[in-house]
């Protein structure tokens, strides 16, 4: 167990979650994975994270069963079924941040593909259900700031696209 993440002796499922995803950068890595990022250099370019830490985090996520590492040469990291279950939590935390920082001007908008827009509680406004991540499309919203980053990964992420679909950079 990584040293900074030990919440032993807490009889609490939240502590159990945080031992896996509570370290600095981990949730942002997973968010990027939902958005389609799969390669080491793409994570690195988009997150401005030190390579050493990224390497450690990816290794831990694979060991914890949240990511798979495929390909001998230049590996691709993809979310496991178990990691997909994190989507509601990730979405809720993101929506809280939207409401807090730029209320009324979301940075990103989410759509239930072939159905309707998603409300900030994660429900599709048309069908009322909770779309699985694979059925969700992201696109920039009115609060997006395209001047903030211009690395190729950020540019690619600004194209409307489905979650989980591997990102085509450049």
């Amino acid at each position: 167990m990584p040293l900074g993440t030990d919440y032993a002796r807490q009889d609490c499922s939240l502590a159990r979650s945080l031992e896996v995803v509570g370290e600095r950068w981990t949730l942002l890595i997973l968010r990027d994975a939902f958005f389609g990022v799969r390669r080491f250099s793409d994570f690195q370019a988009h997150l401005d994270i030190s390579r050493a830490v990224l390497s450690t985090r990816l290794e831990a996520l694979v060991a914890d069963g949240l990511l798979t590492r495929a390909g001998d040469g230049h590996p691709e990291y993809a979310l496991t079924e178990e990691a997909l279950g994190l989507w509601p939590a990730l979405f809720a935390l993101g929506q809280w941040g939207e409401r807090r920082t730029t209320p009324g001007r979301p940075r990103r908008l989410y759509r239930h593909v072939g159905c309707g827009e998603m409300a900030s509680d994660g429900r599709c406004e048309t069908c009322g259900g909770f779309p699985a991540p694979a059925d969700v499309e992201v696109r920039p919203g009115p609060g997006a700031d395209p001047t903030l980053r211009d690395d190729p990964v950020s540019v690619a992420l600004r194209e409307p696209h489905r979650l989980l679909e591997p990102l085509l950079v450049r």
Copy 2:
């Protein structure tokens, strides 16, 4: 801005959230606050956190508008309206941890007061709505391990009680 929490240049609401609640211990402090913990020594007893870090975190949470600090002598920390909006995210993350570690044997069970049990997506199974934290009652579930901790705060938290209601320790 605290040094370890700077995710500047991320045009992402999740990063904005994590700058506020992403540091070690912060989410556990907020969870305890939802459970009714209000006093410095109670947080400390329940979390086994160093006083210095607890002090820093509480101060930051007050500065960020998630907690209020009331009382001159022995202060009480209470969640603000803004912090209440974190409940869905906190709940979702906790439920993910439940499913991951002890599927089928949840550590805690949640009830919509006067209505019905809550499902793991946060909906009340009877009325179908999302109860606000003030209308939720917590109690230990079949996966709870009462031998893990026996400090007075943990004992008090094992009594069924509503969220947000100030905890009576001893």
